[in-house]
Symmetry: C2
Subunit: 148 residues, 2 copies
Amino acid sequence: MKISTKGRYGTRALLDVALRQNEGLVQLKDIAESQQISLHYLERIVALLVKKGFLTSTRGPAGGVALGRHPADIKISEVISVLEGSMAPVSCVDDPSTCSRAGFCATCDLWGEVKESMEGVLEAVTLQDLVERQQKKLESQPRINTHE
Amino acid sequence: MKISTKGRYGTRALLDVALRQNEGLVQLKDIAESQQISLHYLERIVALLVKKGFLTSTRGPAGGVALGRHPADIKISEVISVLEGSMAPVSCVDDPSTCSRAGFCATCDLWGEVKESMEGVLEAVTLQDLVERQQKKLESQPRINTHE
DNA sequence: CTATTGTTGACCTATTTAATCAAGATTATC
DNA sequence: GATAATCTTGATTAAATAGGTCAACAATAG
Ligand code: FES
Ligand code: FES
């Protein structure tokens, strides 16, 4: 029941960009450094986020990425959905036709409830919420900084 | 975010045994057949459940397994915990000391909430609940039977 | 004793994850 | 328009995990 690094790194990258919105374009190099992620791997992940419109990108010198939508309009559930796929713990939940037991399987009803519950949590939180939470954390621990 | 076959098969196996409680010992062979799981692989999974006391086993002719605890006393969260390990979507949630970002990482607080939410769902459901749900399902669809 | 049934450790294969690399496309700037 | 910085893309790969198999073994009813 783990979230892969794709989902984790991707979420952190988005948060990183959101926190630096006022600084203009953010370079992948800087995100990689502050988030301690391999640059090459981050490129791979960011490409997905760009394709789905969470980020916009600009090539060339002084290029970088920026948020493609307002952070209050980005639900974390959407991000995870793009990076991790469905949150269903078993495939029968999303597509009962793939399973011969569908329709009379009590366990999969339960897995469905688990999915709903996780989605509920992640739908209730936007990137803006994460930004605010992060800022609050940094306030109370002023020595530590996520970038630099 | 998938549950592996270990957790899924194990839960179904327990449910299968619970549904046949009155028939005495249940043989792995029969569980494997009715649940459509490879016998060898099921042995592997059942061994874990026996070790943790969810099942008791008897070897020899006419042997088999039986519930080791009353179904109303077996929370599904315990079963998943034994078969899948912690439900934490990232390891930092369970052991912040493994992560250099712990303490000032807003994303992992969120992953913690996801974990709590999943645990909440699975703690509220016992094997007995699953038995009742399953029986209800079989009632309304009398043609289909999970065993035989 | 013997047939039946669960136990265990070793082994294997396919898939997924996590990453790396290199060539390429775009663009600001001089 | 040459150059260097930056994102893009496809190929490749190493490591981990999932999923399963096998064979030898231990216990026990009859
Ligand atoms: S195992 Fe597929 S519906 Fe339950
Ligand atoms: S990444 Fe480890 S605490 Fe957030």
